[in-house]
Symmetry: C3
Subunit: 427 residues, 3 copies
């Protein structure tokens, strides 16, 4: 999986993505090779709650030349050089005039910042602070930005659905609005696409899985204007996929509810896995949980990440690049999500069909025929399952109370179901 | 404020207060200069629940002379010398006879105890143990007590009310039955009166404030017989003011409920103030919380004190005097109560008027127009407010969950209300 | 008490008990001298839930002789030598053939294991591993087992009831199916019988006490098929008595509910007694809590033990004998159960008849007539009782919140009832 991931990463990396524009369309076209995405073009100006879809932004060329005609800053070198959503501009400026349009990181002088100005018209360039300091203050500079802002354009979003037997949905939401950024963001769409591929291979899924690929914030707000009311009734669990590509420990940020099935399943899996992880209580900054977990929706959306946004110094700089991530870690993230999903699929209130005293397990070959030897771990776990299969404990609660991991309980549950001693909730 | 306080303290100090009597009337007359008190005379013999208002007690003169005619113990020197509610007496006694009527503190031999016998007829004198030891055991003593117990008298209580827009009340209860005692008790009526003065200056109070000045126990029982049923429905919060004058750390004793709005507001303010404080769980001894928090009423009455009654050695002795207290500390107590009251006034479930996704703060000038810079503290606090303004979190709960102090939240709340993004619960 | 206990122990010890059979009848006949047991014979084949009562097993003689005609293993020496429920057998076997029927404890080579095969037909002998190693591998062995399995027989159970004023029951359940085992099991029936004797002497019991003496597992399942539905409504508390004879610290294993009155009463008494104890959360292995606390019944059955089954090395071996137990400890267990029962009898929601403010205790002689001296421990406990006697706190909750032990509270409660200030819940 990781080699395929790397190949896709390399193709997606140079594309200039933003809230809108052809870069987003191109990105989705490539991802379609992995995941059966249905594309929607949402017209600029479309109202969603308190917001409007912005004009479509495209950019072909952007540079600064010194008086010798040398391109000293060029969008063609890295798309980070342009302030996102820069308006078109052409002109010659003094150093003092130009300076007002240059953005740098004085504390990280070797890195180029990633910056945008979506809702206020501006133009600007981002560059390393070291380069900025070398600019000749007596020179004049030619600036050219061949961009367009089209209020007759659209915002491109994409969805894919895997139908399960239930209409209850599990939502995987990721975003496609950052240009050449590796952990935040290309890891998100890539891991989401591979989760799709793996789930698609599975039979008899209980839940319906919806994958959405949207620009951050406005895309999530749009998708909520479309599905929000439906999800309030039908969203069983869900996750925002961002910052899932670096080799750091897992981080789980809880949903606003704090005890949603997403939270309980993710934390059960993490607690029962090797390795440390970070647990982060919900806070209303960050990524699209700002929208999904807004008080009007309060959806059960958590986020399993590697190293969380804003806490690593490479975040939103040119250093969030291929060197910062690991395709092995990304494959690990895919697998961890699949484990969580498997648990959500299996998690239910199993029912003991013989709840009055113990069933006679011995006559079914499930218990030793010598007394006083029924004390081993397997038998103990079986006794716990039967004892807690009362309709008030789901699988996760069984695991918590019995202290047996899910992996130990599931095969015994299957054997008990086979023997008619346990049944599924719904049956 | 503190100089005025001191002037009033000096006038009130020498007055002989008790459950009833002219000393109480005189005290209230002086306090009327600060607070618009309405006086009620409750006739002796009035039944309130299991109790009866006792006969009115007054005292003019009381002394012990030795055989040389020297006044060795004299009520005129300090009113602590007389056992409260002593019956009239005149006679000459041997040392052995007199001894039965003398009360001292062997463990604090320099101090005079403060002692009463309200409901059993007795007479007695209180003096320092050192003085007691010096009494000539072979001498005879003349005793004179010019007191009166009038079953046709009355108990004097006083109330003041500041009307708010709501009928829901906040109760400030303090007592006026101790003679020359500084921390316990003159600090209570003085701090209460100055809270009144400050609140009276405020406009648009939401709650109605009731101040009651009553003798301890019987006074509180009487006032409950009058307002208890009303308060069960309409008392929003309240505090018993006692021991609020010494320079020690604050102590907060919870109401019986433990999570009343009084408790939550007081503890929020104390937790968000500099300085340590003591938290004391409710217990059914102490002051008038014994009555207000009796199981039939269970009112939300807490008590913010300085050093709590019964835990300081000067308590109920002649050492609880002006030296023990600090008018600066008393002013600090007034201000702390005003802070708590301000929080109770402002505490409500604010409602986000745009709860579906985030409101677009940028177009209202409430959010930076560059992305990726919305991470500062002010913005984070604003996001928390919007996220929790769901009708299920009051201001205190917002502060607890967001970990932002009330002081940080309130100006942002005001700005959001101004912008129509937030509204008050009631509106 | 302990000498009588020892005498009964010595008579009961050699009897061969099992799920069924004459040994069980004989055991109950002896116990009848202590407790008024009513015997029921449950026919073999009787269906109870998923189980059937097994055929009746009796055994007269069982031995192994070597080729010299020496009895090397003999049931007459200790009844542990025979595998419980061994089918009849007669024959001569080689060492290799015999070995398949021999059971030992290689890790405890000096001890004979206690083992049964109730539901699969087998025969076998138990012996020390040391003896097993000395067997001549070239010898031949004569085996004789004079046992019978009678499907026309019955299972013998016994019950005794002490009627209280309420139909609500407290259940004491113990088992009588182990042959010569001291802590697990003779301590159980003996302690149960002595609790009965002591309770029988008491007057005015509130609850009805039911004592059941049944074989483990199948006996409990049978008794649940008889009373289970009734107990779901009417069982107030109950305990399984097993492993109550060794001199170790007490162990309390909670009921499945975890906060049943059985649990709360037992833990209150243990917490307020001198000496450490072990608290064990419910788990669905062990003794007859497996049945009583099965999810269909979920009865409030806890278990106060000394050293718990399966955690001491002597468990289910020939070392669980008279040396391992202490009749003084058994008497201590009887007394601890009686303390718990007394608490359950007294535990109720006492009601303050004067809940509005404090009752005037002084006029009833319950409070000092001097003020400011009502601060002693006795008064404080009284104030707590009055404050919490609101119908929402039972005696145990009063003790928990006030931190006063039950022993301190009860005499004060009695005095307050006498004075008409407190009343019983029901009255």
């Amino acid at each position: 999986m990781k080699d395929t991931m790397e190949a896709y990463f390399d193709r997606l990396w140079p594309i200039s993505r933003s809230l809108t524009g052809n870069g987003n369309r191109e990105t989705i076209e490539i991802l379609k090779e992995l995941i059966d995405l249905k594309v929607t073009e949402v017209p600029s100006g479309t109202k969603c709650f308190d917001w409007k879809v912005p004009p479509e932004w495209n950019i072909k060329e952007a540079w600064i030349k010194n008086s010798k005609g040398e391109k000293i800053v060029d969008f063609a070198v890295t798309n980070l050089h342009i302030l996102g959503y820069s308006v078109p501009f052409q002109g010659t400026l003094t150093y003092t005039e130009l300076k007002e349009h240059l953005y740098t990181l004085p504390d990280q002088p070797e890195l180029i910042p990633y910056l945008c100005s979506y809702y206020k018209e501006r133009w600007g360039f981002c560059l390393s602070h070291n380069q900025f300091l070398e600019l000749d203050q007596d020179d004049t500079y030619e600036v050219f930005i061949d961009s367009s802002l089209d209020s007759g354009g659209s915002m491109t979003i994409a969805e894919a659905v895997i139908k399960g037997t239930s209409e209850k949905e599990i939502l995987i939401s990721t975003y496609i609005c950052h240009p050449s950024m590796a952990n935040n963001e290309l890891s998100g769409p890539l891991v989401s696409a591979f989760i799709y591929k793996k789930l698609k291979e599975q039979k008899d899924l209980k839940y319906t899985y919806r994958f959405v690929f949207v620009p951050e914030t406005i895309g999530a707000i749009y998708i909520l204007s479309k599905y929000g009311d439906y999800w309030k009734k039908n969203l069983h669990a869900g996750f925002i996929l961002t910052c899932v590509g670096d080799p750091g420990n897992f981080t789980y940020k809880k949903s606003r509810r704090g005890d949603s099935i997403s939270d309980r399943a993710a934390l059960t899996i993490l607690n029962q896995s090797e390795g440390d992880f970070n647990l982060v209580e919900f806070f209303p900054n960050g990524s699209d949980e700002r929208q999904y977990c807004s008080p009007g929706f309060n959806l059960p959306m958590g986020s399993l990440m590697r190293t969380m946004y804003a806490v690593y110094p490479e975040y939103h700089t040119s250093a969030d690049n291929k060197d910062f991530i690991s395709f092995e870690a990304m494959e690990g993230t895919v697998n961890k999500y699949l484990e969580i999903i498997e648990l959500i699929e299996r998690n239910e209130n199993y029912i003991n069909t013989m709840p009055y005293g113990e069933p006679q397990l011995g006559k079914r070959g499930l218990y030793p025929t010598f007394t006083q030897t029924g004390n081993d771990d397997h038998i103990r776990a079986m006794m716990w399952i039967l004892n807690l299969a009362d309709g008030a404990h789901d699988l996760i609660a069984m695991s918590e109370r019995s202290k047996y991991p899910i992996k130990k309980l599931l095969p015994i549950i299957d054997k008990l179901i086979e023997n008619g001693i346990l049944k599924n909730e719904a049956s």
